[in-house]
């Protein structure tokens, strides 16, 4: 059974329809990517899944339960976390406070400490800067922090919204390596990207979102090989 199952999801902003009945699923252990141009509805999809935007119609099931109408804190508590578009780390708080907020729903201090140790092991730069105000980190470091903060929740499903945005090509490759690495450790990934080439390169399966509708789906390799997709999203 799918870990995440989105069915006929419809979201309106006032009279504007942002999502026009999209359906897709993410199975346990997969990397699934949602690609599409600016304004296609990718971020809306992500925010609706985690409970920030109420859908107009359709359903979202996670781990076998209907989460369509649940508030976000209950959804997060079921083992879902998100690296939002633009990272949205807490700029005025320290690196340490950001990480602690990532583990907000965990009350067992020993577990939190162990997770922080893990993060510091993977990203030594964050350990070095633990007391630094997060807004003073470089773009790449902020992205590491945003991903670490999401990992602090110990998620089963991690959703990343444009993690490569605004990063240098070298850092972009690094971010995709980290995503693959997290997946290898057992975390299911839903990845939203404009960088379609890279995203399709690591994805088991992919969906193409155009103006609020899913127009194509297939394995990462299939879509990467499709002439139509190449033309529209891969620059030729």
């Amino acid at each position: 059974m799918a870990l995440l199952e989105v069915k006929d999801l419809q979201v309106n902003y006032g009279v504007i329809r942002a999502l026009n009945g999209i359906s897709f699923e993410v199975n346990e252990g997969e990397i699934v990517t949602l690609i599409g141009a600016n304004g296609a509805g990718k971020t809306t999809t992500m925010q609706t899944i985690i409970g920030l935007i109420p859908p107009k119609a359709g359903s979202i099931h996670y781990d076998g339960k209907d989460i369509t109408k649940l508030p976000s804190h209950k959804i997060v508590n079921m083992g879902m976390s998100q690296v939002p578009e633009g990272r949205r780390i807490f700029q005025e708080l320290s690196v340490y406070d950001n990480l602690m907020l990532g583990a907000y729903l965990e009350k067992d201090m020993s577990k939190i400490k162990a997770r922080i140790e893990n993060v510091f092991e993977q990203f030594p730069i964050l350990k070095e800067r633990r007391s630094q105000i997060a807004g003073t980190l470089s773009g790449g470091e902020q992205q590491m922090l945003a991903m670490s903060r999401a990992l602090m929740a110990n998620p089963k499903l991690l959703m990343l919204d444009e993690p490569s945005m605004g990063l240098s090509p070298l850092l972009v490759s690094q971010v995709f390596e980290i995503i693959k690495d997290m997946n290898a450790k057992g975390i299911t990934i839903l990845l939203v990207e404009q960088n379609a080439e890279k995203a399709l390169g690591i994805a088991d399966r992919a969906y193409v979102l155009t103006n609020g509708v899913i127009t194509h789906q297939g394995t990462g390799a299939e879509l990467a090989g499709s002439e139509e997709i190449k033309k529209a999203y891969l620059g030729g």
Partner: protein
């Protein structure tokens, strides 16, 4: 010396009230203009309960006052939370103007209810001023002022530590900076807003106790300190906790100093608000206000 202590004392009162304004603004992004009236309700509660325990009980005076005060804090804290749930929560997401008008409405509602219950005539009660004065060298300093300064400092330090070091405090800062991102961390924003109103109203009850020695109790008691504390919060930079403290103390000291000179005494309030205008002209975000970083 007397001026300094009295100024700090009044400043601490303004700061305690300003903290309520600034925290609510930071977290719920609204101006709770009914906040001053919580002080008024606190004052009436303390007055009524003190009178009750003093006339009926066999308790010592200080014990009766302590019980009255603790009960008043509980009542005001609940009042703040209920006020938010009933009047403001349904308006979250509505235009800020709707919440502002509602807050003004709640303010008049509380004043009206107080007038119904306690009547319009002024009352007074002496609690902290019973302690009299202490002589330091040649000057006499009121104990009530000393207690206000010391307790005010303890409360403000306590609040700062709470916000910086605890899980709930950290969540408050997160909600204040980015509500959506805070929700993604699993923070229940409604709960945090409720806690914020509770803390603000609790601090306002302390302010009421400290304010009582220098004021008569009436249904409009909260208006003036409410407005001045709001000015203090803006001077310090609304949304900033240290800003509220600095703004409050600054305004309190200015007020006491102005009052102590014959030439300026009748212009005190004008001078205070002129100060607000000047500071806003020079530094529109307030003394310790932060410019929000534009998100990349």
């Amino acid at each position: 010396m007397v001026i300094a202590i009295d100024g700090l004392s009044l400043g601490a009162i303004y700061a305690l009230i300003a903290l309520g304004y600034t925290m609510v603004y930071g977290i719920a992004k609204m101006l709770n203009f009914a906040h001053g009236d919580v002080i008024m309700v606190g004052a009436y509660m303390i007055y009524t309960l003190c009178t009750l325990t003093w006339t009926t009980g066999s308790l010592p005076i200080w014990a009766g006052a302590l019980i009255a005060f603790v009960v008043s804090i509980v009542v005001c804290t609940l009042l703040g939370m209920v006020n938010e749930k009933v009047a403001y929560k349904p308006l979250r997401g509505a235009s800020p103007l709707a919440a502002l008008i509602t807050a003004i409405g709640v303010s008049y509602l509380l004043q009206g209810i107080a007038q119904l219950i306690w009547g319009a005539e002024q009352r007074s009660i002496s609690i902290l001023d019973r302690l009299g004065t202490v002589r330091v060298g040649t000057v006499a300093i009121r104990w009530s002022s000393i207690i206000t300064v010391v307790c005010g400092a303890i409360l403000m330090i306590g609040l700062t530590l709470f916000v910086k070091k605890t899980r709930t405090g950290r969540a408050m800062l997160a909600v204040s900076e980015d509500k959506g991102a805070a929700q993604m961390m699993g923070i229940n924003v409604n709960k945090i807003v409720s806690v914020t109103f509770a803390i603000g109203s609790g601090l306002a009850t302390f302010a009421a106790l400290f304010y009582l020695p220098t004021t008569a109790i009436s249904p409009t008691l909260g208006s003036m300190p409410g407005i001045k504390a709001f000015a203090a919060a803006v001077i310090g930079g609304i949304g900033s906790i240290p800003g509220a403290v600095v703004g409050g103390i600054l305004l309190g000291v200015v007020e006491v100093v102005c009052n102590s000179f014959e030439a300026t005494a009748s212009y005190t309030t004008a001078i205070e608000f002129a100060l607000l205008i000047i500071i806003l002209l020079v530094r529109p975000i307030g003394l310790l206000g932060k410019k929000r970083r534009v998100k990349v």
